[in-house]
Amino acid sequence: MPSVSDRAARAIAYLTRAGYRRCEPAILQPASIFFDSGEDLRAELYLTSDPSGADYCLRPEYTIPVLALYLGQETQRGQAAYSYCGPVFRFRPGASSEFIQAGIESFGRSDREAADAEILALAIRAAAAAQEKPLSAACLRVRTGDARLLARFLEALDLPPQWRRRLVRGLPKGKPLDAILSPRTNGGIRDHSGLLALIEGADKQGAHALVEDLLAIAGVSAAGGRSAAEIAERFLEQAALRSGAKFAAERRVLIERFLEIEAAPGDALKSLRALARDAGIDLSAALDQLEARFELIASDRLEGTEVRFAAAFTGALDYYTGFVFEAHHDGASALVAAGGRYDALAQALGSARPVPAVGAAIWLDNLGGAP
């Protein structure tokens, strides 16, 4: 069986031949660029600091450093396509914390659906090439999703804002619908439900002014970085939430129907269009994009590879903003390749403008167990 480094050499050769220029950011990275990816990733970092106290870490992944390199170039305008291959370092209990990843990132392409399809096809073919197998013999299963479609769907359903926020955040984290839609009610001594019931449906401006006045009496202008107006506004939103809990039955059924959609692309699209029609909502722009992407993926002819679409699947990382995918060997649970679109990440890294971006990583150490 070929070693991980053999597979790595074949994968990177395949990716560079495809026109993705090799880019190798330093192993030692400023830690702060990863902090905004959340405490989950931060908990896995290998951190160190220099004598001045600046924090560094061993790179836990490639996407952020590669994007940072792209953004740091003097002449960083227009399109760029990069590949990479090397060790990444993440604390993984029970597994080696140093492992090799290969991958690709594509920046600046405005033909998003075509870029999405290209990244998927290339990642899949490179994973097969790394194993020295024809694609048809690699027997890969690809699950795709779309982080933006879920957001658009919930927007179109016209839910109270607080409910929409809870759903958009809770569903991708795998929080059950029940837990999201039935917030804990509590009967503590500081329960404001009586007051909220009075405010509910009352003159909003007057109620807002009252709460702000009460906070002003207490000497609160801004507390913990939140303004009195912000606090008052959300306090009043809770009144809406109480009645909003009843929004439910029919729209809840629609949400459940949406989340259950998991099928081959054509069937999934049919179900989604039917759902939009039944719900009386307009999702045509998002669904047309989805269809265009499906067609491009189909035209790539990924022999022996089963591609499906799952409406509830929005990617494991919260920076994904659109297309997402993950690939496994048939019947195995270990990830072979995964990726997606992250158009908002450039701005989080300090870019003045958004940069269309999509990429994928190949988990070379998971290819070994392939049948």
Binding site: D36, E39, D40, R169, N186, L215, R226, R234, D318
Partner: protein, 324 residues
């Protein structure tokens, strides 16, 4: 090789730990001076006491350089990443109680639960492009607790002292800290979330699973733990004795069901002795009199040793089988 027990080197934790061992008849004697960091148990061979800070005790337990330790559960759960393979909490000791809690500014009248916090944290990030900051020294406990409650839009700011002042100083929005009465939090304009108690902590007797547990060390541990268990059993129970010559057949089962009392002596002439939970002893006495006992004696005890030593068994079940 000696059995090494680490106990806190200063403050109330030290006094309480020393009192705990003394209560079990195990007097800690300090080395040559008060500043000596090694000691012993009076009259006990091959047992060494190490005086360390509560945090160092956790590190020494995790590394296997001490066998037993007394320290806070909060520190154990925070600092030992793979607790099940590193250490075993043998017994809570009834002192050093404190809760690790999530506290937010009192002015956040719209935030009462972790679900509220999750919503506010997300809105905070959406509006400012920055994550809400959480000041704490409990980095791991915080991450675990927030992840379980699906709160992800936050950033930890490590704080190694006066954490409760961080929001007022503008260093963080909210905190995760330890509190006993909540008074310090209230004085700093903070309130605890209704479901924001991460851990109800107290001092624990903890055993290292990483240390070398040779035959002699195990034997020392057995003696010490059985003495501790015997004292605890004695402190929480009373001996109830009575003379009941004409007792009915189901009486013993009834006593066990009604009073959770254990029968200890049952002689042919009708003498009975029970070990009964302290608070139920008077009720049991009254009940025995109603059944025909002329007198019932309830007595406090110094030690109740049992063939079954629950503390030692808890330890030995977690250690690899001993091979000489």
């Amino acid at each position: 090789m000696s059995l090494v027990i680490a106990i806190p080197s200063k403050g109330r934790l030290q006094e309480n730990a020393a009192a705990f061992f003394a209560r079990a008849g195990l007097d800690i004697v300090q080395g040559r001076g008060a500043r000596d960091y090694r000691g012993a148990l009076d009259g006990m061979e091959d047992v060494e006491v190490a005086f360390l800070s509560a945090a160092d005790i956790v590190a020494e337990v995790a590394a296997g350089r001490v066998h037993l330790g007394v320290t806070g559960e909060d520190l154990i759960r925070e600092a030992i990443v793979d607790l099940p393979s590193k250490a075993e909490l043998l017994a809570p000791l009834g002192f050093g109680q404190a809760n690790v809690v999530v506290a937010v500014p009192r002015a956040w009248i719209d935030v009462k639960t972790m679900a509220d916090l999750e919503d506010v944290a997300a809105a905070f990030r959406a509006k400012r492009g920055e994550r809400m900051r959480v000041a704490t020294k409990y980095v791991n406990l915080t991450r675990r607790f927030f992840a379980e409650r699906h709160v992800s839009d936050y950033r930890i700011v490590e704080s190694l002292g006066a954490t409760e002042g961080a929001p007022a100083a503008g260093k963080a929005e909210i905190i995760v800290d330890i509190t006993t009465t909540g008074a310090t939090l209230a004085a700093n304009g903070l309130k605890i979330l209704d479901d924001g108690t991460i851990l109800r902590s107290q001092a624990n007797l903890v055993a290292s699973l990483q240390a070398e547990w040779g035959a002699k060390v195990r034997e020392r541990a057995r003696i010490i733990l059985s003495q501790i268990a015997a004292e605890e059993e004695a402190r929480t129970t009373r001996e109830v004795t009575a003379f009941l010559p004409n007792k009915s057949g189901g009486l013993l089962a009834e006593v066990k069901a009604l009073f959770s009392a254990q029968l200890r002596i049952h002689s042919a002439d009708g003498r009975l002795a029970f070990n009964c939970p302290k608070e139920k002893a008077p009720l049991l006495a009254d009940w025995l009199i109603a059944k025909g006992a002329p007198h019932v004696c309830v007595a406090a005890q110094d030690y109740v040793f049992s063939a079954q030593n629950s503390l030692y068994e808890k330890l030995i079940n977690r250690l690899p089988p001993f091979r000489a």
